[in-house]
C-alpha cells in the first residue's frame, strides 16, 4: 500500500517535472516574441488613437485605481490636449485592455481594444472599429451609455448578445472619463 502510494507520487512528480521543463523551454523561446507582439500592438493602437497634428508624450503609470492603469499625454502644437488612458477591466472571458484618447473635459475621442479574451463571434466584436465608435464624442457633456437601452435604437439593435462585454467596456470608458475630470492636474500640469 505504502509502496503504491510512493510509486504514484513519484510517477506524477516525474511527469509534472518533465512538462515544467518543457514549458519553461517553450516559454524561453516564445516569451520575447510574445512581448514584441504586444509592444507592436500597443504602438499600432497608439498611432491610431491620435488625430492629425497631435503627438504623444512619455507614458506614466497610474497606481491605486481599479480601472485606469496608465496615462500618456496627448500634445497638440506642444500644448497638453488630453490623455490616452490604459484601462483594464474584467469582461466575460477575462481582462479587457482598452487604450482610449480623452479630451481634457473627459470627452472620449477614440478607443481601441488592445487585448481581450472575449468569445469569438460574440464579445470579440469589441475589437471592431464600429463598436468603439459608438462611444466616441461621449463622456463630456453627453454621458457615456452604460446600458444598451441608452443607445439610439439602430445602434442598440447591432449589439445583440454579449451584454456583459458591453457593460464592461462602457464601465471602463466611463471610469476613464471620470478619472480625467477628477485629475485635471495630470491632464494639464
Amino acid at each position: 500500500m505504502k509502496n503504491r502510494l510512493l510509486r504514484n507520487i513519484l510517477v506524477l512528480a516525474g511527469i509534472c517535472s518533465f512538462f515544467a521543463l518543457l514549458l519553461g523551454l517553450v516559454n524561453m523561446f516564445t516569451g520575447p516574441v510574445i512581448g514584441e507582439n504586444k509592444a507592436r500592438d500597443e504602438k499600432k493602437a497608439l498611432a491610431g488613437l491620435v488625430r492629425d497634428g497631435e503627438s504623444t508624450g512619455e507614458a506614466k503609470a497610474v497606481d491605486g485605481h481599479p480601472v485606469v492603469k496608465g496615462a500618456i499625454p496627448v500634445l497638440a502644437g506642444g500644448e497638453p490636449a488630453g490623455l490616452i488612458l490604459t484601462l483594464v477591466i474584467d469582461g466575460y472571458g477575462g481582462p479587457v485592455t482598452i487604450m482610449a484618447n480623452y479630451q481634457k473635459d473627459g470627452t472620449l475621442v477614440k478607443a481601441v481594444v488592445v487585448n481581450d479574451t472575449e468569445t469569438p463571434g460574440i464579445g470579440k466584436r469589441i475589437e471592431e472599429e464600429w463598436y468603439m465608435a459608438l462611444f466616441a464624442g461621449k463622456g463630456g457633456a453627453d454621458p457615456i451609455p452604460l446600458k444598451k437601452s441608452q443607445l439610439p435604437a439602430e445602434q442598440a439593435d447591432s449589439l445583440t448578445g454579449a451584454t456583459i462585454t458591453f457593460t464592461a467596456v462602457s464601465a471602463a470608458l466611463e471610469a476613464g472619463s471620470a478619472w480625467m475630470k477628477n485629475n485635471p492636474e495630470v491632464v494639464a500640469p
Binding site: 504514484n8 510517477v11 506524477l12 516559454n27 472571458g93 469569438p120 463571434g121
Partner: protein, 214 residues
C-alpha cells in the same frame, strides 16, 4: 497490429468525432463562425491530440491506474499550453481570434476520450494514426459547420482574417443572420448530424449486403 488505410479515414465519417461520436461540441459551435477560426481550432486540436496520444501510449505501462486521469490531464494541459504559446508568438491574429477556446482544448472530450478509449490500450504507431484520423475528422467537422454558417450567415468565406475574404454575391448583402448566431450553430449541427446518421446507415447497409453476397 497492422495499420489499415481505414484507420486513417475512420474519423471522417464512420467515427467522426463531431457528428457520430458527438464529442467536442462546445468549440464546434463556438468557433465555427468563420472558416479560418475552424481551421485554426481544428489544427490546434489535432496537434494536441496527436502528441498526447503518442505520449500516453508510450507511458501506458508506467502510468498507474489510480492516477491515470490526473496524468492525462497534466499531459494534455501541457501540450495545450505549448500550442497556445506558439500561437501567441507566431500566429497572433489567429490566437486573438480563437481567444479562450485554445485554452479550453484541455477539456475537449475528444482528447481525453481518445486517451482513455484508445491511446492507453494501443501501440505508439496506432495511437499516432488514431490522433491524426480523429484530428482530421474533427477539423473536417468544424470546417463543414463553419463553411455553411459563414456562407449563409455572413455571405462570405474567410480564409485569412481581413486579408483573404471571398464574398458570396447576394448573400453578402442579404445574409441569413440567424445562422451566424448560436441558434444557427445548433440548427446546422442538427441537420449535419441527421445527414451523417443517414450516411452511416447507408454505408452499414452496403457493408452487410457485401458480406451477405460474399
Amino acid at each position: 497490429m497492422k495499420i489499415r488505410s481505414y484507420d486513417f479515414i475512420k474519423g471522417f465519417i464512420r467515427e467522426n468525432p463531431t457528428f457520430v461520436l458527438v464529442l467536442g461540441l462546445c468549440p464546434s459551435l463556438a468557433v465555427s463562425t468563420k472558416v479560418v477560426y475552424a481551421l485554426g481550432m481544428g489544427l490546434s486540436t489535432m496537434v494536441v491530440l496527436v502528441f498526447s496520444n503518442i505520449l500516453i501510449s508510450m507511458l501506458r505501462k508506467v502510468i498507474p491506474d489510480e492516477i491515470h486521469i490526473p496524468v492525462y490531464i497534466v499531459i494534455i494541459a501541457s501540450f495545450v499550453t505549448v500550442v497556445d504559446l506558439l500561437l501567441q508568438a507566431y500566429a497572433e491574429p489567429l490566437s486573438r481570434a480563437l481567444g479562450v477556446y485554445v485554452q479550453l482544448i484541455v477539456v475537449n472530450c475528444i482528447i481525453l476520450g481518445r486517451a482513455e478509449a484508445f491511446a492507453c490500450k494501443h501501440t505508439v504507431t496506432e495511437s499516432l494514426v488514431d490522433g491524426i484520423s480523429m484530428g482530421i475528422g474533427f477539423t473536417f467537422g468544424l470546417l463543414l459547420i463553419a463553411t455553411i454558417r459563414e456562407i449563409l450567415g455572413n455571405g462570405s468565406i474567410t480564409l485569412i482574417e481581413r486579408k483573404l475574404v471571398i464574398e458570396i454575391p447576394v448573400l453578402f448583402t442579404h445574409p441569413a443572420r440567424v445562422i451566424a448566431y448560436p441558434a444557427g450553430a445548433l440548427l446546422v449541427l442538427g441537420y449535419l448530424k441527421g445527414f451523417f446518421n443517414w450516411l452511416t446507415a447507408v454505408l452499414d447497409a452496403r457493408k452487410s449486403l457485401k458480406g451477405a453476397m460474399a
